[in-house]
Symmetry: C2
Subunit: 557 residues, 2 copies
């Protein structure tokens, strides 16, 4: 990527102009360090795709230059791509203890544990990776043990904030390293990469402690069982739920695989303080009086297979929501999830539960983990960068973040809004954005990484809307005539019993089309197929205003 | 539906426990009146479906009792089903002038105009429909000419509010008939059906005038072209946009078929005051200086084919958004549309536009057309009903509306939360909810009304996720052997060039399976097909963790 011997280059392989699958690359001469390795969920146009990870062609072409993968924190959009990327490129991974603990769970599931060097770092670590000197600073976010990173190079210092907020009253008393940030800024920052998730939101994001107060209040009022659902990875919130449960002398049952995983890892590593006798098996919930129970579960985003969905549908094997129970959704729906969450709330109301739901800013049951506008300005002010690259956001968020940077004194021309693959080169103190490297989405479907492309997706979409119609005709090699068929089979188009007349007409049209071409002695199968497609397609559009995929199969005996 | 001679019965065929496709039925002895006839857009599980309308089996079975269809106002969820329902059951339609004007546009598109009696009513109309005496009262909503309805029967009075808010400073100075509502309540209301859309929202919905003030401010500040997008049917807002444009001496161009339709109908009928020389052809926009132009367009919900989407993608044939233009989204995204709207905002930012977007409560560019909690309580207080049936909302909204009714003195036991098809019978002053009539969703796909059922949808979903694999084998009738094939064709599964080995293996497995059965002299084609499905399915799951639909086709020559 670096065209010049001493040039510094910065590029996003994921996370610029999108939320999700974060992956940033910083290169100085022949040394490359990768920051984060996230995954992203597909939108509704990517039918059947399980997950999306960054395309790493550039890294594969320069594999001998890659020194390390540094992970800023343990959220899916920062670690979710690791199993898929490691299968293509092995790199030593540097992360804090909790983050590594969560990565290990993933690697174990993919049978990859032991194949990669995992190196524990702390905010105090100092690394030398090729020509990079790397130091860290602690930040706050909706998961513990988050890092910002400072890369010290001969060209100057580049800072990557990771995801952050300034929580000045953090639940675990791990305060943000504001003095260290100030010192880095004081020494001079050449370029700042700062996250933009909440760049549209005015003000200062409230402290996680606010949520704790509301949880305590709700727990004090509840008379029957309490169910509370939140993001499993928000260990601070889990701690506050544990603390609130203890205050009202309730036991705690966990539902959902990721909740069990996170509680295991974080309590084992000392990030979650869980009294010994508090946890009970979900199968034992019915043995306790309702007022002694808190059920902590996954599914706050309405995920159809998660615990809360099953509870709302009364289909959980072990635990039931009953009239008078309290159900708290301690999370705001992420855009796109509103309908699924609303359906769950409807079902819970039908069960007679007292439901606390809605935007966290109304219920007090959720605060964001991301810096709002005033905190973003604070970070920019602390770092005083020469160049600024807003990252981790969609275009409008990056644009808003640019305006914030301008308002605290960064020059418009020194701000680079990049897309994935756009390279910012800095040499002799001057930054330029002139070239691109190839990147994009790698789609994961089942075991296939990158084998589902546009043709397959287009076909899936076509069949999902209007179904498929298969027309099979057998021709004689010697006699120039149809010896079997046409047989027409439809799937996802119309239900056969209701439309026999329609399919008979299709057979008639296909026969006529084929006989005509046989008489003309057409000798290309593609002609026969195209003719059936055209004629049958025209007929069906006229009759039904639908366009199923038409697949003629011609067999010659 | 009425089991007793003098019983009054109320049932929702659509709109109870859902937002969309409203249709309520009120019956007294042998007289039936239908209220509203809406449509609803399918959710993502109904692949390929264009629109959903109520199932009207009950009305078809009692067609000789149906006296009228009364429409409360001209929104899609109240009139969108009319063309599809009229094809099944012809009924005279009663509605106000603007509502009828919008219905006529629909009937014209479906070639149904002239086949139905359309009868104009006003808030002052008094109808006699069988044993019903029917009167009306004016309400406010996000479209002009809305009605609430009072049905006076020997059993008592039933009130249906339609959609409403209390806008005490309405744009067209058509104030809500509060005195008439009070008089109806004073005489005694047996049962109230009131809409619940905003039952979750505290307070009082702001007046539409508030939006006008914000539009004026934004227009005054704009220096280049102005684009503004809103719901076409919100004629009040269109009027305020027209007024604001006139104040700054700008011409108006319309983009989008529904915008053109509504402006045509509402200005022709006198609901929209449009200066003669204001409207210009979109093709002429480029002839005017940018500061003399307002473009009013559809697509505020991010609909991919609507004008705003095309403008944001720079793919509109006639008009371009350029750096420095102002684009106003005068609508809050409806849940489910957030991502599409966000994508448009991103694109507009990339074009360099100044974009005013986000929740209407923040931008001031949108207010709801539905009553918030204090207005719902005001309606309940005015009507003082004995029985209350919250309608027009999902379960949680109906539940919240029940709580509001209790808070103003309605007895819990006198409130009926119903689902579509649940009948509330009232006789001798006593209401009971004990029976159901059949109802449900009628799915419209192209020209087919109700011909796409669960099997077809299940197949579409299956193919959309993992595609289809077709295995064709030709057998000899006489020789008990394979004479052609297997030929395997896949669509939406894997791209063939990348997976030839996989498909060869499928052919090998299908051959082995078939030969085995031939040797066993199996004589049911279903056995051959099932065996191929099982063996190939198992193999593909192991190799790919995907489950394409497997469709074996066996031809015997």
């Amino acid at each position: 990527m670096s065209t010049e011997e001493n040039a510094l280059s910065i590029v996003a392989l994921g996370g610029a102009n999108e939320i999700g699958k974060n992956m940033y690359v910083i290169q100085y001469a022949d040394d490359i360090v990768v920051i984060d390795c996230g995954s992203k969920f597909p939108d509704e146009s990517l039918l059947g795709i399980d997950v999306i990870v960054p395309e790493i062609t550039y890294l594969l072409e320069n594999r001998n230059k890659v020194r390390a993968l540094i992970i800023t924190h343990g959220h899916e959009d920062h670690i979710g791509g690791i199993p898929y990327i490691l299968k293509q490129l092995n790199m030593p991974i540097y992360a804090t203890r909790l983050t590594l603990g969560l990565i290990e769970v993933k690697l174990r599931e993919h049978n990859l544990l032991g194949q990669t060097h995992l190196k524990t770092i702390t905010p105090e670590s100092l690394l030398r990776l090729g020509k990079f000197k790397v130091s860290f600073f602690r930040t706050n976010h909706s998961i513990p043990d988050c890092l910002g990173i400072a890369f010290h190079t001969p060209e100057g210092t580049v800072v990557h904030t990771g995801d952050f907020k300034f929580d000045l009253t953090p639940v675990n008393e791990h305060y943000p390293d504001i003095h260290k940030m100030a010192a880095i800024g004081q020494k001079g920052v050449l370029a700042l990469l700062s996250e933009s998730t909440n760049a549209e939101r005015p003000g200062f994001t409230p402290s996680e402690r606010l949520v704790g107060e509301h949880i305590e209040e709700a727990f004090a009022k509840a008379t029957q069982k309490i169910f509370i659902s939140t993001f499993a990875s928000n260990v601070h919130r889990l701690q506050q739920i544990v603390d609130a449960a203890r205050k009202v002398n309730r036991k705690l049952a966990l539902l959902g695989r990721s909740m069990v995983n996170v509680v295991d890892v974080s309590s084992e590593l000392g990030y979650l303080q869980l009294p010994d006798d508090m946890l009970i098996d979900p199968a034992d919930v019915h043995r306790f009086p309702p007022h002694e129970i808190v059920v902590l579960c996954t599914g706050s985003q309405g995920e159809p297979m998660a615990a809360l969905s099953r509870l709302a549908a009364s289909s959980h094997r072990q635990v039931e929501v009953l009239r008078g129970d309290t159900v708290i959704l301690a999370a705001t729906p992420i855009p796109g999830n509103e309908r699924n969450v609303a359906r769950i709330v409807d079902n819970l109301y039908e069960l007679g539960a007292n439901v606390i739901y809605g935007s966290g800013s109304v219920t007090g049951m959720h605060v964001s983990g991301h810096a709002s506008q005033d905190e973003l300005k604070l970070m920019l002010t602390l770092m005083k960068p020469k160049y600024f690259i807003p990252i981790h956001g969609e275009y409008r968020m990056l644009s808003q973040h640019r305006s914030l940077a301008e308002s605290v004194g960064v020059d418009f021309d020194d701000i680079f809004i990049v897309k994935n693959g756009d390279v910012v080169d800095i040499s002799d103190g001057v930054a330029r954005q002139t070239r691109k490297i190839p990147t994009g989405n790698t789609l994961v479907d089942g075991l296939g990484i990158g084998d589902v492309g546009n043709v397959v997706l287009r076909d899936r979409k076509h069949m999902s809307e209007d179904g498929i119609l298969i027309v099979v005709i057998t021709l004689s090699r010697t006699e120039n005539k149809i010896i079997s068929g046409p047989d027409t089979i439809s799937r996802g188009f119309v239900y056969v019993r209701e439309s026999e007349g329609l399919l008979e007409e299709v057979n008639r049209i296909a026969t006529a089309s084929t006989i005509k071409l046989l008489e003309e002695k057409a000798n290309q199968w593609s002609q026969y197929k195209q003719s059936i497609k055209d004629e049958v397609g025209k007929f069906l559009w006229m009759k039904t205003k639908r366009r199923p995929m038409i697949l003629p199969i011609i067999i010659q005996i």
